[in-house]
């Protein structure tokens, strides 16, 4: 599968074998993910209490609080950020968290785009690799 690169990671390298977390319900980073421990705090999410660190986090509908960039930057700073973030549509607010993380010299996740319908082909918990140019591979038998 091909995903669009919105923001390259820091360092700009391939993401190897990360567990996919599929968020199929709308989520806002501010109020939805704890900046201090990196778990999903939105009580309406069926992924409530799940950590996002080192995952390939697929988000089918992002609710955009303008403080979302601060939450992602804090996750980056604490080493609790996802390995990669895959969004349904362009979002400058979340992208900013990663762009600023890179400016600060911190390890920052790449942000990719994949329409929600295609995200639906990936099973929650599957192991995925995403190359820095946007080639996504779902490893067989991984879930």
């Amino acid at each position: 599968m091909k995903v669009e690169v919105i923001v390259p990671g820091q360092p700009d390298e391939d993401i190897e074998r990360a567990p996919a977390v599929m968020l199929t319900e709308p989520i806002s980073f501010w109020g939805g993910i704890s900046p201090s421990d990196g778990t999903i705090t939105d009580p309406r999410s069926r992924n409530h209490n799940r950590p996002v660190a080192a995952t390939a986090l697929f988000i089918s509908e992002l609710r955009g609080s303008s403080s979302g960039s601060s939450v992602l930057l804090e996750l980056i700073y604490r080493g609790l950020a996802p390995a990669a973030i895959v969004l349904d549509s362009l979002d400058a607010i979340l992208a900013l968290g990663s762009i600023v993380g890179r400016e600060m010299g911190w390890k920052s996740p790449p942000i990719f785009r994949l329409p929600a319908a295609e995200q639906g082909l990936i099973t929650d918990g599957a192991v995925v690799s995403i190359s820095k140019n946007g080639h996504l591979t779902v490893h067989p038998g991984s879930c």
Partner: protein, 422 residues
């Protein structure tokens, strides 16, 4: 992705002509422009910064990096709330390490030359861009007011982009900076709602809460709500921006880009028409409370002032409290600008009557409410939206009169015949 065309000045900033801080800020602006698909930048005339609220140490380190590189804002810049009330120590219960970092964050933004307004209502603190002017504002209610009521042009800028725009004087030319993207697409026809409904202030946060859910990010033009005051439009925009992602709305015959219906829609027909009635508004009102409480039941606190109270709203509060004393804390969140407009001694007198006047911050962004949980009464659509998740309190949404009476009596007061009778 497309390339971003830069002029000589912009390329100079990127190359370090105005120092390292401006170069960093320009890299962030250009990279964001690329993400947004903008092919050029727009010159902005002012900025309002939301990034001064503490969410964790990383924000402080970024602001201090900018200061260390010599950053100064290039345009008039106001500051949104921080996590501390700098005038009244003791009100905010942040633990010492976080308090220190929150304070360092606020100090960094002052060092970059921003005005110490510390308010989510900068438009009532003298920061009023002209209609048609391009600006870069953060804070969802401020963005909605700036676009809708002032007719100035901004997108909903996230933390970090706001300060980078202030330092460079540039923002990505996209979204609501482009006149073609500012027309309404949805007509909200409120003519079926009885006029008496709009007489009460609480009508406007209820309308806002409904609007955000009904239209999301689409631009609505509303017809048939009379001529709301500035404070009523402020409450409408704040509620709509928190329940949806509304960055711009029009009120036909009232707001600057909607002198007529066809002006609001750019001479094309609405893509969608929603006929609003009292049933939908009653449902929206019920949705603003998280618990069902009857008159006389216990409450724990009352909070008003999101967006920050204007001088007029503080005076109205003073009249309603009268010579009585609040038996439960009534938190009144406001800005230094509104206090400056009050008659001499009024703020002290409010405090003496049990009103806790809070400036520079507010009760849903930093720990102020008594620890634990409880029932909070508010007339603010924005407080009602954020208080449950940010404070752990349940919310009862009520009119200003009901808020004040509840604080004075120490138990929930509800207007006997309902808030909207004639």
């Amino acid at each position: 992705m497309k390339c971003v065309d830069l002029d000589g000045y912009e390329r100079g900033l990127l190359d370090g002509a105005a120092g390292e801080a401006a170069a960093l800020a320009m890299r962030v602006i250009v990279e964001t422009a690329r993400v947004l698909g903008a092919t050029s930048l727009v010159e902005i005339r002012s900025a309002h910064i939301d990034g001064c609220l503490y969410h964790g140490d990383s924000g402080t380190l970024f602001a201090e990096r900018l200061v260390g590189l010599g950053a100064q804002v290039a345009v008039p810049t106001t500051l949104n709330v921080g996590a501390l009330d700098l005038l009244h120590g003791g009100i905010v219960r942040l633990e010492p390490a976080a308090r220190k970092m929150a304070h360092r964050l606020m100090a960094a933004y002052i060092a970059m030359g921003a005005r110490q307004t510390w308010t989510c209502a900068p438009y009532q603190a003298g920061h009023r861009p002209a209609a048609g002017e391009d600006v870069a504002w953060g804070e969802s209610n401020a963005v909605a007011f700036c676009n809708s009521v002032l007719g100035a042009r901004t997108n909903r800028y996230g933390d970090f982009l706001d300060i980078c725009a202030a330092i460079t004087g540039r923002a990505p030319k996209s979204g609501l900076h482009l006149p073609r993207n500012r027309f309404a697409t949805v007509l909200v026809d409120a003519t079926a709602v009885p006029d008496s409904f709009w007489r009460d202030d609480i009508a406007f946060p209820i309308l806002g809460a409904w609007l955000g859910r009904a239209v999301g990010q689409r631009i609505a033009a509303i017809e048939g709500i009379g001529r709301p005051t500035e404070d009523q439009l402020k409450a409408l925009g704040a509620a709509a921006a928190s329940s949806g992602s509304v960055g711009l709305f029009h009120v036909i015959g009232v707001t600057p880009e909607a002198s007529t219906r066809s002006a609001a829609f750019g001479d094309v027909a609405p893509q969608d028409t929603i006929r609003l009635d009292l049933t939908a508004l009653t449902r929206a009102r019920a949705g603003l409370s998280t618990v069902n409480r009857s008159a006389g039941e216990a409450i724990d606190a009352v909070a008003i002032g999101s967006p920050h109270l204007s001088t007029d709203e503080l005076c109205a509060l003073d009249r309603l409290v009268g010579r009585r004393h609040c038996s439960k804390p009534l938190y009144a969140c406001t800005g230094r600008h509104a206090l400056a407009g009050l008659p001499q001694g009024l703020m002290q007198s409010l405090n003496d009557r049990g009103v806790v006047v809070i400036v520079d911050t507010c009760v849903v962004v930093t720990p102020v409410l008594p620890p634990g949980s409880g029932v909070l009464v508010t007339n603010s659509g924005k407080f009602a939206h954020y208080a449950p998740q940010n404070t752990g309190y349940d919310v009862v949404f009520a009119t200003l009169v009901e808020c004040v009476e509840s604080a004075v009596r120490g138990s929930l007061y509800l207007t006997p015949n309902g808030a909207h009778e004639g």
